[in-house]
Amino acid sequence: MSRREGSLDPQADSSVSLLPHLEAKIRQTHSLAHLLTKYAEQLLQEYVQHQGDPFGLPGFSPPRLPVAGLSAPAPSQAGLPLPERLRLDAAALAALPPMLDAVRRRQAELNPHAPRLLRHLEDAARQARALGAAVETVLAALGAAARGPRPEPPAAATAAGVFPAKVLGLRVCGLYRDWVSRTEGDLSQLVPGGPA
């Protein structure tokens, strides 16, 4: 496999095998992403239950207003080279923890008797940080790490009213799920024997 940056070609000569420890790291990171995808879906369900109807009702569709510092994974990104996609994944996972922390702080005011939700939001911030670090480790091992220091993620967005805060929290939980799922998909292309 080529060691040039940006040359993570999953179609590379099969006679070139990844170092065993790197292969193990990729598998491990992929497994983590897979697990966190499930947790993220559960978090989203738990979140909507505590906001009351119409959150959680079928067809509920609040405006998908932009969240400062993070956008949703775009379909057009699928055409990017794998290292670039993984760098976007890592950047998104680095931006999510302060947002999840902000959601947790607001939910602690709105739903103080929902300790499980609060704990799961705290766990999600920690898990996003861990997965982001793991992706960056894989990128670095592959010689495809981002050049220069990563810009500091912006401070978390907040909302003035309670209803907008509920919507914002829903948006953040949705973004967390979307990015973790995207990361899992991107990593699956690196897993030896995985889908091309």
Binding site: H50, P54, N111, P112, A155, G161, V162, F163
Partner: protein
């Protein structure tokens, strides 16, 4: 759900929005330039109201291009569409809503009042907090475990149902001096409890009270004054042993050890014993076991398994005049009384008076039956010999068989305990 008729303007308590850091905002309702989208603002934002009060709200639409209209807008509350007659168009861009006789909020995060465009899309939202102010908490009770800490619990006023998040804070201070302190470890023995783990003074009274606060107001309990030494409890007595008293079939001896934490101070401790038969739920309590660490239970049933527990009251510790608080019961300890040797007492041994040998059919089934009977019955000496003697007696006394079928030659019925209930 709110009632249908419009009501007078509501005096709703509004909380000012929190100060915001210098951040990008994601506020539902901020118009986006050049997007062609309409958004709206609901007023009031996040009001707090008493149950039964009324609310008048407005949804003002603005957007790009200008000229957004209130035509076609509608309201939902907690996902349910509100009746059209509750709304009216105030002007071209504003839809008003009037709700009367509001019920308590369905969730503590607030009821979701939402303004929708004609196509159902969400334009704006506001959360309503409808409830009651807290009532005075009452019935504060406290206890100290081995004089090291203090745990208190209380009953919330109005049985706690204010429909709003209500915060309870246990406060305490030394009676004649010192500052107010706030308990920090909540929910230790139930939802309305708090634990003070350390730094408690003895021989001087404390004042303790509970403050309840929610969006609609606050309330304070009466002050409880107590001395830690008057509310001491301790651990259950350890090492409880129950044993037979020689061959006495109606007695058991119970021994235990003073709770170690207060062992050196329990000069006047009281103990209580309770016991029950194995298959019963009814406990018998032995009081007045003062300052002793052993006791004999009498008048028991022979051949019976008993469960026994002991608890301690550190009465009079350090000269306290108060009663003290009973500990938890010790873990149950079991023992059985000897079986009675006298006949006719709960089914003793079934001894044949004298018999004649005989042979009989189905001896294998009989052997199984005898094995079961030995296991479950009080007749410990059943045997084939007894059966054979019975058969001989039955053959001899044909007339007697017709009258006494099923009764043992001794004239007694063989008792079987049967499966345990």
């Amino acid at each position: 759900m709110p009632a249908g008729s419009p009501g007078p303007a509501a005096q709703s308590a509004r909380r000012p929005p929190p100060l915001l850091p210098l951040l990008l905002l994601c506020v539902l309702g901020a118009p986006r330039a050049g997007s062609g989208a309409h958004t709206a603002v609901i007023s009031p934002q996040d009001p707090t109201l008493l149950i039964g009060s009324s609310l008048q709200a407005t949804c003002s639409v603005h957007g790009d291009p200008p000229g957004a209209t209130a035509e076609g807008l509608y309201w939902t509350l907690n996902g349910r569409r509100l009746a059209p007659e509750l709304s009216r168009v105030l002007n071209a861009s504003t839809l008003a809503l009037a709700l009367a006789n509001l019920n308590g909020s369905r969730q503590q995060s607030g009821d979701n009042l939402v303004c929708h465009a004609r196509d159902g899309s969400i334009l704006a939202g506001s959360c309503l907090y409808v409830g009651l102010p807290p009532e005075k908490p009452f019935n504060i009770s406290c206890w100290s475990k081995n004089m090291k800490d203090l745990t208190c619990r209380w009953t919330p006023g109005a049985h706690g149902e204010t429909f709003l998040h209500t915060n309870y804070s246990l406060k305490y201070k030394l009676r004649w001096y010192g500052q107010d302190n706030t308990c920090e470890e909540y929910h230790t023995v139930g939802p309305h409890s708090c634990h003070i783990p350390k730094d408690l003074a003895l021989f001087t009274p404390y004042e303790i009270w509970v403050e309840a606060t929610n969006r609609l107001g606050s309330a304070r309990s009466d002050v409880l004054t107590l001395d830690i030494l008057d509310v001491v409890t301790t651990d259950p007595p350890p090492d409880v042993h129950v044993s037979r008293v020689g061959g006495l079939e109606d007695q058991l001896s119970v021994r235990w050890v003073s709770p170690p934490a207060l062992k050196d101070f329990l000069f006047q401790a009281k103990y209580q014993i309770r016991y029950r038969v194995e298959d019963s739920v009814d406990w018998k309590v032995v009081d007045d076991v003062s300052n002793q660490t052993s006791c004999r239970l009498a008048g028991l049933k022979p051949g019976t398994v008993y469960f026994v527990q002991v608890r301690c009251n550190p009465f009079g510790i350090y000269g306290s005049k108060k009663a003290g608080i009973w500990s938890e019961w010790s873990h149950p300890t079991a023992a059985s009384t000897p079986r009675s040797e006298r006949p006719g007492l709960g089914g003793g041994a079934c001894e044949p008076r004298g018999g004649e040998p005989s042979s009989g059919p189905v001896r294998r089934e009989l052997k199984q039956f005898l094995g079961w009977l030995k296991k479950h019955a009080y007749c410990s000496n059943l045997s084939f010999r007894l059966y054979d003697q019975w058969r001989a007696w039955m053959q001899k006394s044909h007339k007697t068989r017709n009258q006494d079928e099923g009764i043992l030659p001794s004239g007694r019925r063989g008792t079987a305990r049967g499966p345990a209930r």
